[in-house]
Amino acid sequence: MPKPHGGKLINREIAEREKEKFLEQASELPTLNVEEGLAKDLENIAKGVFSPLEGFLLEEDYFNVLNDKRLANDLPWTLPIILDAPSNFEKRNDDTITLSYENRPLALMHVEEVYGYNKREFAQKVYGTLDNIHPGVAKLKDMGDLLLGGKIDLINEMKTPFSKYNLRPVETRILFKEKGWRTIVGFQTRNAPHQGHEYVQKTALTFVDGVFINPVIGKKKKGDFRDEVILEAYDALIKHYYLKDRAVISILPFEMRYAGPREAIFHAIVRKNFGCTHFIVGRDHAGVGDFYPPYAAQDIFDEFPDLGIIPLFFKEFYYCKKCGGVVNEKTCPHEEEQCIKFSGTKIRELFIRGQRPPEEMMRPEVTNIILRSGNPFVE
C-alpha cells in the first residue's frame, strides 16, 4: 500500500472525550460561518483525506501551488485549499477562531496568516480561464478578498444522510489490508454507472486486487445525478455484477472545482491517501464544457514523477454492435454506424422522457433504480 501523501496520515479530529471542552472554547471565540464546500474541505483536512494538509494554506504554500503546482516543501499539490474571509475581517494574526456551518460550530482554526490574493490570477492559473461561465470562476466572484491560513481542529462532523458510506483514509487502509488487497485502483465518479464505467473499472481490476469506487458527494451542476441515486445505482451494480470481495464503495464529500488537469492530480493524491496504488483517468477528467482539451488531464501526469500513485489512462469507450461488447478505438476495427456511444447527455434525455437506455448502454438493474427514483437529477 502506498504511503500517505507526504508520508503521514493527518488526523485533526478532536477525540470524543475532549469535545465538550473544545465546544465550550468555541462558543467564546469569534466565529466565521463557512459554506458547504468549505465545511467539506474542513472535514477532509481533519480526516486525512487531504494529507499532508493540517489546515488551510499559508501564503507561501498558496503561491507555490498556484505557480508551481507544489507545496512550499516541493510536494505535488495542484488545488489551492483555501479559506476566504471578507475584507473587513479583523487582521489579528495568531488568533484562534471558530468555523461554523449553519450556525453549528464545526472546528477551531488557529489563524497563522491573513493575506490577500488576486482572483484573476487564481482563475487563470487554476482554471485556465477568466470566463464566468466556468463554475469555478463564477464562484470566485463571490469569495472574500482575504485568505486565512492555519491549522484546524475538527470538533463536529457535518450531518450527512450517507454516513454509512463515509470512510476515512485510515479506515479504507485497514479495510484494504483486511481484504488482502495489495494493489487497489481508485475510481472517481459523479455519475450513475453506465456500461462504459463498468468496463473501465473491470479492465483496471484485471490488473489489480480491488477497485475502490469513490463517488463525489456534494454540490453539483444542474442536470447531474442526485447523490442518493448514484449510490443506490452503484449498490445495484456491485450486487449483480461484481465479486463482493473485489469492490468497495465509499463516498468523497467534496465540492467539484471543475479544474480539469489540476483537479485530476488532486483526485489522484486523495485516492493515494485512501490507500490506492492506481488511479483511473479517463477523457476530460474533472472537466466542464470545452474548457480543457479532452486528454489534458492525462498529459499533466508527466509533470509529476513523484506523485506516488500510478495513473491508468483510458480512451473513450463505446459499445460495438458487431464486436458485441464494449470497445475503444484501439480495440475495434468497425465503422461508426456499429457504435453506441455512452453519452451522458443522451442517457439524461432518455430518462427525462421516462425511457430506458438500451441494455448495451446501461445495466437494467441500474436503469430500474434510476427510473424508480422519480426525478434522478439535480434541479
Binding site: P4, G7, K8, D74, V170, L175, D302, P305
Partner: protein, 78 residues
C-alpha cells in the same frame, strides 16, 4: 551592487555535475518535453526522493481493532 535574496526566499539553488554528464543529458533531452538540463535533473531527483520517503505507523493496534469493529458494523467486513 548585487541584490541577494534571503536564503528562505530562494526558489532555486545550484548544484554541480560533471561537464560530460551535462552534455550527455543536454543531448538526451533534445526533442523531449524537457526544456533544460535543470528541469530533467529535477524530474529524475524528484522521482528518486519520492521513493525514499519515510512512512510513520498510521494507526495503533487499539485503533485498528476499533476501526475493524466499525467496518464490520457498516457491513464492509464480514
Amino acid at each position: 551592487m548585487v541584490f541577494k535574496l534571503p536564503e528562505k526566499d530562494k526558489k532555486f539553488t545550484t548544484v554541480s555535475i560533471p561537464t560530460p554528464l551535462f552534455k550527455k543529458i543536454k543531448e538526451r533531452i533534445k526533442d523531449t518535453g524537457f526544456t533544460s538540463v535543470s528541469s530533467y535533473v529535477t524530474y529524475v531527483l524528484r522521482e528518486i526522493v519520492a521513493e525514499e520517503e519515510e512512512e510513520g505507523e498510521p494507526f495503533s493496534k487499539e485503533d485498528e481493532e476499533r476501526i475493524k469493529q466499525r467496518l464490520r458494523a457498516l457491513g464492509y467486513l464480514g
